[in-house]
């Protein structure tokens, strides 16, 4: 049996009296794209923080590529990477300078060659020598993605990778992620509020609410089980406390 790429066991995070994540367990197989869904305050970002070793769990543990992230993160951090619109790259450094720095930090052997490939793949050529703070939102996202791919990670964790992007750029990013997954056999964990994105990209969806996992299945199965047409409708059912499909909807689906 192949070990999961990411595994959480009874994972909890409390901030004083507030419970951000409450005893969740899941296993993400290698080579899959998994969506982490939930409304604001559901515990997605805290869960991602624990997976990346940025946040220490209160109870339970999270294992990535066999390393307990609370104690052994440095065994595997060079094989992972992370992108989020809430984390910036230094604004005054040019895109190239930022990529050189992170390439060196991640131990990339041929940093210059790797940057040239990323420039081609992510179409960064137009602004590669421009200060990172002077880019448009779409360009910044592409640069953040380039930083996240600089070490060709086996585990890629993305927190709302297409937030605030126009539909064209967002679609372009999704296409690139699909190509990266199939090309590298990488495992991708994706937190997003964009249901179309999750439906298109993810093999499986973990739905969170108030620190708990309330459902976990393939997008098509979730849609069928809830008797809905889209994942967005399923999301609204879960967010509003209707965990199982309403009888009227079940009949409608059956007919």
């Amino acid at each position: 049996m192949v070990a999961p790429a990411i595994e959480a066991e009874r994972l909890s995070k409390h901030y004083g009296e507030a419970i951000a994540v409450d005893g969740i367990s899941f296993a993400i197989p290698a080579g899959s794209i998994t969506g982490l869904l939930g409304g604001n305050g559901a515990g997605k970002t805290t869960t991602i923080g624990m997976i990346m070793g940025l946040v220490a769990p209160t109870e339970g543990r999270v294992t990535v590529l066999g390393a307990n992230m609370a104690h052994e993160a440095y065994r595997v951090l060079h094989r992972m990477n992370f992108e989020s619109p809430y984390v910036d790259l230094p604004h005054r450094l040019t895109v190239r300078q930022n990529l050189v720095v992170f390439g060196m930090l991640y131990g990339v052997a041929d940093v210059r060659g790797r940057i040239e490939r990323l420039v081609r793949e992510l179409d960064l050529g137009e602004f590669i020598d421009r200060a990172s703070g002077k880019l448009s939102a779409g360009q910044k996202t592409r640069v953040a993605l380039a930083k996240a791919l600089i070490n060709e990670p086996e585990i890629l964790v993305l927190d709302e990778p297409t937030a605030s992007l126009d539909p064209d750029t967002a679609d372009w990013i999704r296409g690139h992620l699909e190509r990266y997954r199939s090309g590298q056999k990488a495992t991708i964990l994706l937190a997003s509020h964009n249901m179309n994105e999750v439906e298109r990209l993810c093999d499986r969806v973990i739905m969170m609410k108030r620190g708990h996992i309330v459902d976990d299945d393939a997008p098509a199965h979730l849609i069928a089980r809830y008797g809905r047409h889209t994942l967005e409708e399923v999301f609204l059912d879960v967010a509003r406390g209707r965990r199982e499909p309403a009888p009227a909807l079940q009949q409608e689906t059956a007919s």
């Binding site: 790259l89 230094p90 930090l105 131990g107």
Partner: protein, 270 residues
Amino acid sequence: MSEHSPAFSFRRIAAMVLRHWYLLRSSWPRLLEIVYWPAVQMTMWGFLQLHVARQPGALAVAAGTFLAAVLLWDVLFRGQLGFSISFLEEMWARNLANLMISPLRPVEFVIALVVMSIIRLAIGFVPVSLLAIMFFGFNFWSLGLALAAFFVNLLFTSWSVGLLCSGLVMRQGLGAEGLTWSLMFLFLPLTCVYYPVATLPQWLQPVAWALPPTAVFEGMRALVIDHVFRAELMLWALMLNALWLAAAAVAFMALLAAARRGGSLLQVGE
């Protein structure tokens, strides 16, 4: 990507130094700021020294130490700022989480901050010390080997304070940034920068002697006034500095662990 990542890497340290070098190089206001205050400070104390030196009596002798004192104080203060500001740059840029999820080890991060402290200090100090020769005929470099002992001890203290400030900012967020600018000023009266330790009340003197820079400033006065290098003071400062650095390193690691427990690495800001 390799299965293994070295436990210690000079390349990762070089990456962090390069990151801050790129930043300094791209921003002339940052470079100017490094030179500006030390130059203003040195000029003001230089004129005061000239004025007091023309007065008769013991005051004139004491005045001979003002410029050396102000330049050494700047080594201490600017050394700490060079360390802490490089850390703060990561907070201001919201880049800390990127670094903390990278293979960069805390010890490598700290060594890079130490290197940046030396670079920033050199950028500010060398021109100012040359200005002191030009305007006031005071050659700081003529202190010779003693100067190296003063520098080493003051830099060690500045890094201890820088480590502590950075740890507090990491744990508490940018709301604690003010400490970076003000904590060192607590040392100004207690380490007897401009007057001998004997000036302090008896009960305060043990506190002063527990601060490594006190021995350096006392040693500087012995050298400038009496032309005596007091090696025992430098050894005392070195021993205290070893304790201070160890305590600061433990505090930094404890604050990093607390930041992970408190989730503050995810929410860098106020």
